[in-house]
């Protein structure tokens, strides 16, 4: 099973992005500066943005979904319970998982943005997909919820997950790191070998590696454990 960007060129006017690579099973993290094309690439991989050239191959992927940056774009149910049912999920259990107990009759768009994001991600990750593309899944979430989303990602219910993010504090364990640099998608490699080459690494990871630590993965706990091993 894989998702392949085959000599892809994405264009908006004079802006271009080149992408050539294979996303195999596992958790892939894609980072890049503001305006580098993360959302455009996520949309192209999901099949809702037409590439200027090249093609996207999906091998063994029957069920693919994209979580857009802004959860409002996904809302179809007037009330929270309608929204949950639209994902074919049980209302009470989903509310509990999203930390929204008792809010089933609230109007969906009256939730705070963080609450709406929680509801959306709980619904999306509560279904079974072959491939999940998450565009800025941590934006607007508090630290506790970011950890919960990371745990859901790490559960491994979805064989292929591609996360586009610039989150700096709470990240899930990842298998492969990619970066968008100077108009092209670049694969930094598998974790942990990719960590030293990762220019957009979170500050805590950079700080730990500057101290000579060799984290096994990219989470804060991996960085602190590596530092503790050094000083043990």
């Amino acid at each position: 099973m894989y998702l392949k960007a085959d000599r892809l060129t994405l264009s908006h006017g004079e802006w271009n992005l080149r992408a050539d690579g294979v996303f195999g099973q596992g958790v892939h993290l894609v980072t890049g500066p503001v305006g580098s094309g993360k959302t455009t690439l996520a949309s192209a991989l999901a099949g809702i943005f037409e590439p200027a050239s090249g093609r996207i191959n999906r091998d063994g992927i029957l069920h693919l979904t994209l979580s857009m940056q802004f959860p409002e774009y996904h809302v179809t149910g007037f009330l929270v319970k309608d929204e949950i049912r639209s994902w074919h999920l049980p209302v009470a259990e989903t509310l509990r998982q999203a930390g929204l107990d008792g809010r089933q009759n609230a109007k969906t768009l009256t939730l705070s943005r963080g609450e709406l994001k929680r509801l959306h991600l709980t619904c999306l990750l509560g279904n079974l997909w072959d491939a999940v593309i998450l565009d800025e899944p941590f934006a607007g979430l508090d630290c506790r919820e970011k950890k919960r989303v990371c745990a859901a990602i790490e559960e491994g219910n979805h064989p292929l997950i591609i996360i586009f993010t610039h989150e700096q504090a709470v990240l899930p364990a990842a298998d492969v790191i990619w970066e968008i640099e100077e108009g092209a998608l670049v694969c930094r490699g598998k974790v942990p070998e990719a960590i030293p080459a990762w220019k957009g690494a979170p500050r805590y990871l950079t700080r730990a590696t500057e101290e000579g630590a060799q984290p096994k993965n990219i989470r804060l706990q991996d960085a602190t454990e590596a530092l503790c091993r050094m000083h043990a």
Partner: protein, 225 residues
Amino acid sequence: MIYAQNLRHRLLDIESLHIGGGHTAIIGPNGSGKTTFLKLCAGIELPHHGTLTISGKEPRAVHTGWVGEVPDNNLVFRTVYDEVASGLRFRRTPVDDIEPAVLGVLSDMGILHLCSRTSHTLSGGEKVLVACAAALALSPELLILDETDTHLDRKAAEILETIIRKRPAPCILQCTQDMDTAARADRVVFFEGGRPRYAGTPKEVFFHLSETEMYPSLWRIAECI
């Protein structure tokens, strides 16, 4: 500088809160009342009960710059130049002074290259930076950033932080979910359940949060070195 007394509004329930000038980080879980508090400070909403003053004035009498989290809601005008110039024009700034002010703030923020772009072609992060430029161009007394850094990468967030320090408003309220950013503010207010549960220096507030996910990641790293 900001005084709240017996403030009741939606889920907010603040008996007494004083926030001095300088840079204050507003933190807390989703749905804890952070944005509601910021909206009252900006005068976007009026409190149902109680008083809120900023430098002794009603919030709507204060010159405030507001940058919200949703990038599309921040921009009104067609081009980046017009967006950043808009506040100055509404304030009837002399025409000859507008262009240097606009180019100056765009240059300081490292986004001069966006000047002639149409707003709808910007990425989410670029829209946030342009909205910040528009707010800062007005030299506001109170600058409010509501999870503005959510859509910024590390470098862009650092640029924004540098600019805030280079062009400081007398009072900055920054709601953030990045605890490392909050740890660099002059003071922190932690909201929970509509109430300011802890307020003080970053050291004082994060002392109470040291066993939680909200403790700054760089502090965790520093404690291991």
